[in-house]
Amino acid sequence: MSPVIKRKGERFTIPSKYLLFILTILCITMMLVTFGTNVFNRPFNRVVGYVVIPFQQGIAKTGEWISNRSDELVQIRMLLDENAKLKEEVAALTEENTILQQDKYELNKLRKLVELDEQYGEYEKVGARIISRDSSNWYSSFIIDKGSNDGLADDMNVIAEGGLVGRITSVGPNWSRVTSIISDNSNVSAMTLATEDNLIVSGDLQLMAEGVITFTKLVDSKNAVMEGDKIVTSNISDKYLPNILIGYINTINRDANNLTKSGYITPAVDFEHLGEVLVITDLKQQIDEES
């Protein structure tokens, strides 16, 4: 009788150490295969999409409903105060708006004069709801309730509150995973809006609690970049569309090599309280092909 497969009653069973060995090899093969391709991802994502996602959607909806109800009770008084303040602000803003509109009119006229059309047309966007978070404490990613059925695909950019949130890293039929820019394994090629200096923005778990992310490799020989400067995605990034706001420079330090600078950025998006996001369905490559 072979030692691998022994007869127990009428059923064949494999001893657990052989099972462990077989599954170990299976895991390692899967890791190697999925490291470069996504052959397995598609069937797995499909199965998971039909089994797990509906429950998560349900729980997310109920959770939202409950927190909304409790928030309502707490906030009524606060809202009354805020309402009064906001009314004043609206008056002020309306006035400002009329002035701005005049400026815009003038700007358009001037643009026509120098034949400068709007540099980037409006991107196509799709709204989506966050239904679950990462199951581990190491990286920061979340699941949204739209997927390839709604026209989403890998590497699409995700924004919220006017700032960059991250990009899609995995797509199922009715869900997709968004890896956020504060995640420790994320790097974004970015530039300063004012001086167009390139830099790399990377997430850091150690700084996540302080609400900042790091930037490195800023070449700023003229010392023109200041704290508070706007950081946007750069035009040389191959995954991110250009000129999406990432955040504002918080601190700048000179690196030991005296050539580059690094420091911290305060992201434009509040990642702690994120409920809905917008997915830009234009991909960077498509734009490159058109131009």
């Binding site: 657990s16 099972l19 797990v52 429950f55 239904i131 199951s135 990286y139 150690q206 996540m208």
Partner: protein
């Protein structure tokens, strides 16, 4: 068959809870690891084989939802389930100390493994920070949840074992 269905339901419910409910109940951004509780308790209650199979399924679920590539968490969880299965010989349902100790040790070793494979290899060398801010809080939170979840798993398992025993006797 009944056992398979119930264990599958357990895994799905725990995974969904971990991803949606507990992420809203996170303390300082840390969520408990229900998958470890399931894997190691079925490991030491039922033996190596069931431990490693449940670990594999739990890990694969985590992989699909949060890993960069498939098989990473599955591998770690599978070995945790297998090693916990080694303790099934000295496990008694009345004793609560061994399960608690095993779950804490499993969660901490899971954390250390994740740190060394995901972070240390990318040059994040500040181990004390990651240990005190991620691994230890996760283990503590997991233990608090174990107090509620483990008795449930234990009762369900005992009911199932009693049922299996009855049907086996009937068969003989």
């Amino acid at each position: 068959m009944l056992r398979k269905i119930i264990v599958t339901v357990f895994i799905f419910v725990c995974f969904i809870l971990q991803c949606s409910v507990f992420s809203n109940l996170a303390f300082a951004g840390i969520i408990p690891n229900l998958m470890i509780i399931l894997t190691s308790s079925f490991g030491f209650m039922r033996g190596e084989e069931e431990g490693l199979l449940i670990g594999f399924v739990c890990g694969l679920l985590c992989d699909v939802f949060s890993g960069d590539f498939l098989g990473f968490y599955a591998l770690i969880m599978m070995y945790i389930g297998y090693l916990n299965g080694k303790f099934s010989r000295i496990f008694y349902p009345e004793d609560i100390k061994l399960p608690l100790a095993l779950i804490v040790v499993s969660d901490i070793s899971y954390g250390v493994l994740c740190y060394s494979l995901l972070f240390l290899l990318r040059g994040r060398l500040n181990f004390p920070y990651y240990f005190t801010r991620v691994i230890l809080p996760e283990a503590l939170y997991t233990i608090v949840i174990t107090m509620f979840l483990y008795p449930l798993i234990l009762t369900v398992n005992q009911k199932l074992e009693a049922k299996e025993k009855r049907s086996a006797q009937k068969f003989v």
